[in-house]
């Protein structure tokens, strides 16, 4: 039985092996998981500090976006420990006391050649943060960022790829020439 179909079986075996490796192993290998340096909870800050998004992530007067706040924003409140958690203590003596900036892993880091204007989407298109960033603002813990080992671009689910941008722009009849969003 095996002998007479030996050829086909071997062929199928090869195909099967490839399928398993390609669908199972490959993605795991391709993406590097970068854990966040600090266990930060948007949820707690939203509740305790009553912080809105743009308390920490705000637009400058010239329309540019600050993105992730720098350490001094944190040490504004965390000059002394607010709580008793070991995690906060670690955070305190690692960054605040040493005054070292926190090397955050950005989920939505855009490629260098992308010009994304927050001010346009917020002030003129009146988009809500959630439309792109999902429920990140309510999250209790920051998951690791996924970085493509080859292209070094963010592979996180929150990462907006060009198709997503283009579709939305097309629906809203917004500009979709190359240099409208690239630089």
């Amino acid at each position: 039985m095996f002998q007479e179909h030996r050829g086909q079986i071997l062929f199928l075996g090869g195909a099967l092996a490839a399928l398993v490796a390609g669908w199972g192993g490959f993605p795991a290998v391709l993406f590097q998981r970068e854990p966040q340096p600090v266990a930060f909870s948007h949820k707690i800050h939203a509740e305790k500090a009553g912080a809105k998004c743009d308390d920490c992530h705000f637009l400058r007067a010239d329309g540019t976006f600050t993105g992730i706040p720098t350490l001094d924003k944190c040490s504004g409140c965390h000059a002394q420990p607010m709580g008793t958690t070991a995690e906060e203590k670690r955070f305190m003596d690692r960054y605040v006391t040493r005054n070292r900036e926190i090397p955050w892993q950005v989920y939505t880091r855009q490629p260098e050649n992308v010009y994304f204007s927050h001010v346009f989407h917020i002030k003129l298109a009146h988009l809500d943060c959630r439309q792109c960033h999902g429920r990140q603002g309510q999250s209790d813990a920051l998951g690791p960022a996924r970085v493509n080992r080859i292209s070094a671009y963010s592979g996180s689910p929150q990462f907006q790829n060009m198709d997503a941008c283009e579709n939305c722009h097309r629906q809203r009849g917004a500009a979709n020439s190359c240099l409208a969003c690239h630089k």
């Binding site: 007067a61 329309g63 010009y115 917004a174 500009a175 979709n176 630089k183």
Partner: protein, 257 residues
């Protein structure tokens, strides 16, 4: 090309430039300002005038008279932002070049570029430049790069895009003030800003009130290679007949014979 519409509520502009050849002294400030603004790398060790990258390039032209009657004039040549049958946009095999209907600016996307250089053969102004080398800055000088412009990589074509980074910045400032429309003068390319002679004027050619539109209509104004019918948006003006002739009329003699 997938440029369907401009931003809703904004009327499309047709940005153009008027260059006064009688004011230009060929100092090269525009070329330096351009390179600084657009993160153009300094010359590699083997670069020549034929392999260098100068989005803005000032040519010296002569009245042809020998010593002692020679006179010189200077003609800044940048991408002429052709408005009709744009030669480079038509030939790019993978939509790395397109004309933005919202601004009339001819966009070049180095990240989409294959580096086939077909567009360079198509451009009669030789305003397109190829990255023959990896871009290299002296150690530490990367710190001075402009964050509004993405550096290019080896093996792709680049060219003037009217300092698109400045357009983005201007749009951001306007948006921060709740405006979609840009006010005249809110957006000016680096070369125009840098010209110490004030020889260059930039603006919306469709805005009849603008200085550039007025100069474009001026009797002394002309465009280079106008008869190719590609509707370039860079206007030159001079009151000196020989300059106009040298800049517009094909030479008859065999210069290299």
């Amino acid at each position: 090309m997938n440029t369907t519409s401009s931003r809703p509520g904004t009327k499309p502009a047709r940005y153009g430039m008027a260059v006064d050849l009688d004011r230009c002294t060929g100092c090269g400030a525009c070329m330096i300002a351009c390179a600084v603004e657009n993160n153009v790398a300094p010359a590699g060790p083997d670069a020549t005038p034929r392999t260098g990258i100068t989005w803005m390039r000032v040519y010296q032209i002569s009245n042809g008279a020998p010593f002692p009657d020679s006179r010189a004039a200077f003609v800044p040549i940048l991408c002429q932002q052709c408005g009709k049958d744009t030669p480079c946009a038509a030939v790019c095999p993978q939509e790395a070049v397109e004309v933005d209907p919202a601004t009339g600016i001819v966009d070049q996307m180095p990240q989409r570029c294959l580096g086939c250089r077909y567009c360079m053969t198509a451009c009669p102004y030789h305003a397109r430049y190829f990255n023959w080398w990896d871009p290299r800055w002296p150690p530490g000088m990367e710190k001075t790069l402009n964050p509004d412009v993405a550096p290019r990589m080896r093996g792709v074509v680049e060219k003037c895009n009217f300092c698109h980074g400045r357009l983005h910045a201007a749009r951001d400032r306007a948006a921060a003030a709740g405006r979609r429309e840009l006010l005249p003068g809110e957006y000016v390319p680096a070369c125009v800003e840098a010209c110490p002679a004030g020889a260059m004027v930039f603006g919306d050619l469709d805005d009849a009130a603008s200085e550039v539109a007025r100069l474009a209509r001026d009797g002394h104004s002309f465009r280079i290679l106008e008869r190719l019918g590609t509707e370039p948006k860079i206007y030159y003006r001079t009151a000196r007949p020989w300059v106009r002739q040298a800049a517009t009329q094909q030479r008859k003699e065999t210069a290299n014979a």
